[in-house]
Symmetry: D2
Subunit: 131 residues, 4 copies
């Protein structure tokens, strides 16, 4: 992954709630789409990571601050950065923006596990992009 | 399953959209919860059906008419009935009501398949409840 | 709308379920995204339709046949066509494809209503694209 | 709210993903359902809070640690506690358990705002339950 990975998405009806804004859990969907697209940009997929490297990336923890509500039909940009890298985990900062406005800031800790859910060393094929 | 299976649920923020009503796809979640609860009421689970009988129940088709919108914090009742039963499929009528008002009517065709997705005879453990 | 409107989307984790395939309600999200994008392609938005024309487009009914399951990380194409147009409603055919394979076929009846939910004539700004 | 509010829910197909476990964003839905049920247990609803007190409760931030994955058809208990109370905000601890196992721990900061999104003093009708 380059220093910074950018992904754009839009707010559809499915993302909003009766308060007319994006439902608080759905921002996490946008963040996950951005992380998946970052993986695709490396020429990888989650399927390949599992089949070729026996690796699944799971979310260990998530901190999110909601700064401004995103609204129906907004165009959003998700900016993802690697913050720290360990042996079997890494931390990402992910920001959601609507043009220049910050919608949310978040820190996500991800762990690489095997099919049984045990933490395993980040595979080289992924690690080389994280540094 | 008895002639008629009733299941109650509520409308939470997650179910609504910016129009202030339940998002049209989310009614299908309520219908599926009702079908799962019908299965639990038989002393079965989807896991048992798969592990003990090698059977997964999948949706083949769905027709739904939206009569009145369900709203945030509504209490809903889903009434499910078996309509017809075949060898490897069965059809259900499912109605969503808010007290006496009909919110939606639907007809769902379900097929019993094996782990590879091939249609298989409805297992006895399930079939005895459908008739 | 041109005779046929095409929209592409991908299957993310959020769309799948424990059976490893797209959850049956989530196909309806893809269909709605495609309809929203069709509206954007006309230079309209749902917000403009409401604010300038007092019009909301709601789903009256939905028939969907699931032909083949879409899977995690699939790239999908949604092909949308106008089938019939009435005074305050129109019917669309929407097909989901994965390359040449048909994933689902559906027929959606949409109604134009005012903010109180009463059917109203399709506004000209929309109608000119539907014919 | 009593010192501790307990709410039970189940894991349906809609909540799971291709990894066979609950999708990480969907735990936030369970947490919100529990908070809504806590409000109902006080004889309040979100609608009443808005109509009678001009108050909407929004999520300002969320920290969640995923300890163990919840699985399809699990029965879960959400235990919610008030941690701190300010003038226009309060913090809750919410834990998700499967019998004795801790599935997730979370801290949610909630703010009371008016219809325009400006923070306002927690209304008495709500405040008396939080202390």
């Amino acid at each position: 992954m380059s220093k910074e990975f950018k992904y754009n998405t839009k707010v559809y009806y499915e993302d909003t709630d009766a308060a007319g804004i994006v439902y608080y859990a759905n921002y996490l969907k946008f963040l996950e789409r951005a992380r998946s697209e970052a993986i695709y940009s490396m020429g990888l997929t989650n399927k390949k990571l599992l089949n070729d490297n026996g690796t699944i990336i799971i979310v260990k923890s998530c901190k999110i601050e909601y700064k401004k509500p995103a609204k129906f039909e907004d165009s959003l940009e998700i900016i993802s950065k690697i913050k720290t890298i360990g042996k079997s985990s890494f931390t990402m900062d992910q920001m959601i923006k609507r043009k220049e406005e910050v919608i949310s800031e978040s820190e996500i800790v991800l762990v690489t596990v095997n099919a049984e859910g045990k933490p395993i060393r980040i595979p080289d094929v992924l690690n080389k992009f994280l540094n």
